[in-house]
Subunit: 135 residues, 2 copies
């Protein structure tokens, strides 16, 4: 099915929360790997759609977070989807290098196991080379 | 790398927010399809890990939401991962039927396009058969 809904924009379908944010899941477009969960405000979402480079809103820093601006680990936008109730977006990206500030490809590198937690992803890039920040 | 971190439990790595919730991304374990984003409180996470059936916390209903309890569209847990800062979990599941209350496989069925929004997933199950609820 390929219904284009008139002039309705994706932004009109997003329900920003009381803090003006929407949850954003980043997924590598070709492998399907879920890379990270972050947040976007309206400005971040607009910038992402306009530039094709993924921009989040950093809740800790209280400002736009242009992913990879300092670390070089940028995310090129491939497709942006919104969920049924508009409170989450799925950002299909091409991730340069690693998504996680720990130097791992994905932030989801720890898995529940019987009796403990297993680290399932190796560090690929020295975190100090990423300037020690999440980005 | 397969480091088992002693007796540290996954639950100890989760940072629940001010409302006692953590974001939970459900992903089909074999295809990589991102199905939905929902929320878990500690009880939902404990129940999910204990039973192998995914349980969320419904923010609108203010109670545990045993996915598929009424609709039959259950999620069998395959693996549960936590992200680097503990504020999101990735739930790898085997989804019975459809995840979305609209009768689509995934809640992320609308994509941004030049000049509009495209519906990219078909309805697979009559939503009325799912009792019209999200579950």
């Amino acid at each position: 099915m390929t219904t284009v809904t008139g002039k309705r924009e994706l932004l009109d379908l997003v329900s920003f929360d009381a803090n003006g944010l929407v949850a954003a899941i980043a997924q590598q477009h070709d492998t399907g790997e879920v890379l990270m969960l972050a947040w976007m405000n309206r400005a971040a979402l607009e910038e992402t759609l306009a530039t094709g480079r993924v921009c989040y809103f950093s809740r800790s820093r209280g400002k736009l977070w242009r992913k990879g601006e300092t670390s070089g680990q940028v995310q090129h936008l491939k497709e942006l989807r919104v969920d049924c109730d508009g409170d989450a977006v799925l950002v299909l990206v091409d991730q340069t290098g690693v998504a996680c500030h720990t130097g791992r490809r994905s932030c989801f590198y720890r898995a529940a196991r019987q009796g403990g937690v297993e680290t399932i992803l190796d560090v690929e890039t020295d975190p100090e080379k990423l300037y020690g920040s999440r980005d």
